[in-house]
Amino acid sequence: MSNLTETDLHAYADGRLDDVRRVQVEAHLAHDAAATESVRVWRAQNEALRALYNPVLNEPVPQRLLAARPSRRRWPNYALAAGVMGLSFGLGWATHSYRTDRFAEAAALPHRAAVAYAVYAPEVRHPVEVGADQQDHLVKWLSKRLGNELKVPRLTQQGFELVGGRLLPGGKGPVAQFMYQDAKGQRITLYVALRDAEPRDTAFRFSQEDKVAVFYWIDGKLGYALSGEMDRASLLAVASVVYRQLNP
């Protein structure tokens, strides 16, 4: 077999060849002791690596990893905003005030969302003002009150059906709250608040407000918070879907 390459041997050792090529390599190996030995060694290396490190898979995951939060690395919009503000006011001051604003707002959004969740999620008879059966009306009404076109994520695949929504007072004006419920009656809410600060974006963040887990982010003029009385990982799975549907 003249066109056998070393790549073929590696792919053979790693089980990456199709049947035809595999048979060709095997035919070659039958009379090439050195290549046969190489394949044997490489396979032994793979097996040894798995034997040595696979036990890590069964170790409990340290809490600090489960509690990891988005890093404070600057994202592009932040750099741009700080740069623009720096031109007018001096970078040091601008960065400082921007951060102060960021922390204040960052703390307020998940807290308000968690309180709103805690108030309305246990409500049996009146969890929402407008039910999902009038979804078009609900979205139009809340979009008009917030002065922004709102989108309602579909979470059917995640097991959550829209219950409906309501209008709430927020720190900076009207807030929309959409409520979802799964087959077991567990509820989550998407809290959408209008911001009066300048438009910007933030990454995905997490906050634990007593028993309520909240994932939140800011997208332009709107702040979003998804709240639920569930573990972080389960909520994250839903929040990532919400995030992507709203930021296609």
């Binding site: 290396q45 040595l52 490190y53 890590v56 898979l57 890093s71 974006d201 930021n247």
Partner: protein
Amino acid sequence: MESTSITEHIPRLRRYARALAGDSHRADDLVQDTLERALAKFYLWRHGSDLRAWLFTIMHNVFINQLKARRELALDDAVLDGLQSAPQSDPFELRDLDAALRQLPVEQREVLLLVGLEQLSYAEVSKALGIPVGTVMSRLSRGRDRLRAVMSGTSTVTSLKLVK
């Protein structure tokens, strides 16, 4: 339901980090930095693409940056081959494998682990590390040769740290 949760990838990220970084505390630091960066950049992840490969890419970038910050990038092959030391006579044992991996240049160690331990395809490794498949194959080949040499005691066991 499609697997979208970063959290469920943590055990495999830890396994890879342990093999890559060695020390378990340092490995978990690497995982934590990777998760923090992934969460901050989650909006960049394309729905439907392979989340695990994306996480490996982030871990690769974080790891290389950490090494650069510590000025600890492994020396390349030419320098390694020039180093002489007494041959090792220890038999092949698992506990030696971890030490042997430290003797591999980082770029060979990464490829070797992504292929052999994580069982990524060559195309996936190419994508995760941002290098052509041909480069994946040459690093894999050199990495396997070097590991074989170290384990059979025909190569250096000198601890390699770039100190300046």
